[in-house]
Amino acid sequence: MHTVMDPPKRQERGAAMKFTYASGSKTLAGYTIKRGIGRGGFGEVYYATSDAGKDVALKLIQRSLDVELRGVTQCLNLKNPHLIEIYDIRESESGETWIVMEYVSGGSLEDVLNEHPQGLSRADAMLWLRGMVTGVACLHDRGIVHRDLKPGNLFREDNLVKIGDYGLSKFITASRRSAQTESIGTVHYMAPEVARGKYGKEIDIYAVGVMFHEMLTGRVPFEGESVGEILMKHLTAEPDLKPIEEPYRSVLAKALDKDPARRFASINDMLTPLVPTAVLVDGNGYAKPAAPNMESPTRGEFWRAPLPQAPIHQASPGLAAASSLVLAEPTMHAITLPSPAAAKPKVRTPGDPITEFFADKWERLNRDSTSQATFWVLTVVLFTMTPVAPLMWGGLFWGAIGYGVYRVLWTMANEPGGSSSGSYAPAAAPRTEQTARTANRCAVFRRQRTEESMPAKGRHQQATELVASLVKSTVAATVLSGILYFVMPLLGPTFDGGATSGVPMTMAQLTLLTLVSIVGTWSILIPSKAWEGTAGRPIARRAVLTLAGLAVGVFAFAVDQYLLIDLPGTITHVRGSEMEFLTEYSGQPTIYGYLALFAFLFLVPRWWKLSDPMRRTSFALWPVALCGVWGLVLAWGCCFPQPLGVMWGAITAMAVQLSAPWLSSAERERKTVVL
């Protein structure tokens, strides 16, 4: 929500800025001013070149005080890749004081936030956060509190974040006192204790928290129409962190605590919950082990020592003491977690008890070639050459159906919360042998990484993609229905009530099949597009899809009635009078039969996984088989004429996969998160 006054900045860069000195001025000996850059907290900033050609930034201090100048001296010799280097402090012939600094050609965080009013991607936000934490940690390590951290003082060049205007806060304070004004743009980042005159390092942690909130959401946590209102909110109001997911929410809550003693003890602690143990990947993609400790960062390297699993709300004395543990800024190296399969290829992923039992037996069988051979010979003989072969096939068929139902129910009972990302699988996500907490963090990281690698899409692009998917699904459903029209009679199912076998559908039945398949596919694609790239609760999505299924059921029934379709098909199960509400005596399904079929057809499978652009493959047969079997089971359970249930299930699963967008692994690699 935005207030009348546009917070927290923002005179746009370039807007009506007039500078004291023009291009070509040599007011400071040894330097030629080329252009004005902007206005800092205490004066104008220029881009200049030395007589030898070195690029520098010249900051004109409009009001110099000896006491404050002495305070800057300690910053002159600070060296850190995340701090804008101060080369010198000079006085011009006209008596003006200039600070000669490193020139950073990249834009500021303020510019970036201006361009992204909805906030940055998680990857970008973390890049900025890590850089500012490292730089601020260096300042705190030397007893310097920045006191004026804000987006306008943070810059990024070559993916390296740099902090400027440190050690100069006294100039800023003096300037503001003289001007008797307090810029509303700065109070958004001001810790509450500043109003009481306390300027400990906790105020920098608070400011970093405010900026992190702004990067994640596009707005500062406390807004207002006046300086007083904003300061009051800093003192009394709690930030609304509900829209922000974990682990960011907890980090922000701690960083923005009103009591400075309850914030993070060290700025580095802010990163502990956010960056899981990672592996450094070099330019060739080879993983290198994380270094246990390092003194100072080197440009071009990113690494992360294994951090203690300290809970957020407790002090981390290990990290607080390790003030030399600084984090370098990453280069264009992808940081990936080793997948569980790659780390331990021989570890079997545990599943439900039945799977466990048979998987264990299968493993034992595979260890012995003699047993393996015996097994296969017996299998072939039993299934083909003995009188019990039909029984074996029937048992296998019904066993598979029964196991499928059991597996679905077991999965629903053990389903983890998660996003739309990941491959479609009715089974629970595989669990590794890591601890529960590390596994959870890895899952969070993978989900975050997967979601972050999704390209940010505007509404127009989303709408365009959706329309394209709907068109493709229409074509796919039509073609698939046509194919099944010709294929199904060959497989035996009949559409004339069982009197003869191999009778194809009537045109009316084919129309019903096609139209309902199209509408069913649309009912999945439309909400899935809205869920794309977001973390959502499966139960909420199932609820939405169930409602969609009900709507499809109503539509199907309407088409049935409008076209006066004679739809006996093959009713494989006849129930007693208590189930008459599902079918009429003639075998025609009632509205309740349609509703029940489609509601359950859309409720159980995780349809959004089939349309997820980040699914493992663009098309997989396993989900088609599962959805077909589920349709078969539902039709049997709802007394719905066969084989429409299996056809609708299979066609919908196929059409959704064929029409939904998909990112190949090459495209995902280009968008891999850089940590």
């Binding site: 370039g14 070509g24 252009r35 004005g36 850059i37 881009y47 690029d55």
Partner: protein
């Protein structure tokens, strides 16, 4: 070029250098002022609070490593050949004539290739530029660095100026100036460069109430909402 009896005859390279660097210089006296007009040259454009740009006026520019002896129009501090690629402008658009292999939108180019209105050039070891012609009514193009490399002297981008150069807040402007309320246009009129803006314009201390005036390659121009300077190279 005069040759003295004792001077050695001009070598081929000297003549070639002379041809490359010869430009039409016309000195005019207008209302008591001298205005130098230049064609076929480059200049630096410094825009306060926006950035610095290398502006090339010639229809043909060479990109490569900085080498004062080779007359590179766009010197880039990168792992490139001295004269890596030549970009030529004509009525139909832009053409890249390759001296060393480059990639255009990821595809290798061996000889020559037309440059579309928005494409990516990759030269040498990772020097990547985005070539854009943002304005539909102007043949002026902009080269923007996608990699960490820069020109020498350091600038924020390169403008291959055709008939006009538009500075302003819109996406179609050659130099994007966020926050500017209006556009400012530098345009070529014959061998001269002029500036037009809304409101009063001040060029080298002289006021132009009609918002239009001639600039030199060392002019300082300011309006109500902007300040820019040209610096000859």
């Amino acid at each position: 070029m005069e040759q003295s009896l004792n001077a050695p005859p001009a070598t081929t390279s000297q003549s070639a250098n002379l041809r490359r660097t010869t430009y039409l210089r016309k000195t005019m006296t207008l209302f008591g002022r001298e205005h130098e007009t230049h064609v076929g040259q480059r200049f630096l454009l410094w825009v306060d609070a926006v950035g610095g740009f290398l502006v090339c006026l010639a229809d043909e520019v060479t990109l490569g490593q900085p080498d004062p002896t080779r007359g590179v129009d766009v010197p880039i501090l990168g792992d490139l050949s001295a004269r890596h690629v030549r970009i030529r402008r004509d009525a139909e658009g832009y053409l890249a004539q390759v001296r060393r292999p480059i990639k255009l939108n990821g595809r290798p180019v061996e000889d020559a290739a037309p440059l579309s209105a928005d494409c990516e050039l990759e030269m040498g070891a990772g020097v990547r530029l985005r070539f854009r012609r943002p304005h539909p009514l102007s043949n002026t193009a902009r080269l923007q660095f996608l990699s960490r490399h820069r020109t020498q002297p350091s600038t924020d981008g390169v403008i291959l100026m055709a008939e006009s150069l538009v500075l302003g807040p819109g996406p179609a402007c050659h130099v994007h100036c966020p926050g500017w309320p209006r556009e400012v246009i530098l345009y070529r009129q014959g061998a001269e460069i002029w500036c037009r803006a809304t409101g009063v314009l001040e060029i080298d201390g002289q006021r132009h109430a009609d918002g239009c005036g001639r600039v030199s390659l060392d002019s300082h121009v300011s309006g109500d909402d902007f300040t820019l300077s040209l610096e000859s190279l």
